[in-house]
Symmetry: C2
């Protein structure tokens, strides 16, 4: 495969219209992939800690979910990320509630 073909392929894969932009995007996507791996790892850690909390609360005779705490978490994400932060935190809380 010639270098011209390779450059064209890269440009197509990144949606860029120049080789320079395609190269920049390729590198930045690697950074995004690394960030996503770290975000996913932290979410899985959050799910594990949340499971411990739920088990302790249920075992003590309480309920699985504590709504005032969930409201505080939603506010935390909204304050940091704006309106989509609320939607993101709602999905995160859904993930962390799990199915026990």
């Amino acid at each position: 495969m010639s270098s011209t073909t390779t450059a064209t392929d890269t440009t197509a894969a990144t949606g860029a219209r120049t080789d320079e932009a395609a190269a920049l995007i390729g590198g930045a996507r690697e950074r995004i992939d690394a960030l996503d791996d770290r975000i996913i790892g932290l979410i899985q850690e959050r799910m594990a800690v949340s499971a411990v909390i739920q088990e302790a609360r249920i075992t003590s005779g309480g309920r699985r979910v504590n709504l005032s705490r969930e409201t505080a978490v939603l506010s935390h994400y909204r304050d940091a990320l704006g309106k989509p932060g609320t939607a993101l935190a709602m999905t995160l809380l859904e993930l962390c509630r799990g199915r026990v």
Copy 2:
């Protein structure tokens, strides 16, 4: 305030029914708060890298969004976190598209 009152307050705040569970939950919530701060920080970093990509692509004459790449990101989150992973990634992509 007596120590009895304090223990009752803590129990109420955590939704636990015993002081032991309340203490465990209090500590675990601090871990969750620290995880949330790290998750939020990584998301903000992701938004910044994504903005660089979008600017490079648009400047080169391409489009802001690259749908095949977004599909790959959705799959990545779904593979790691199951069905709610897709919803979470959709919100994440919405956050990262921003309004330029």
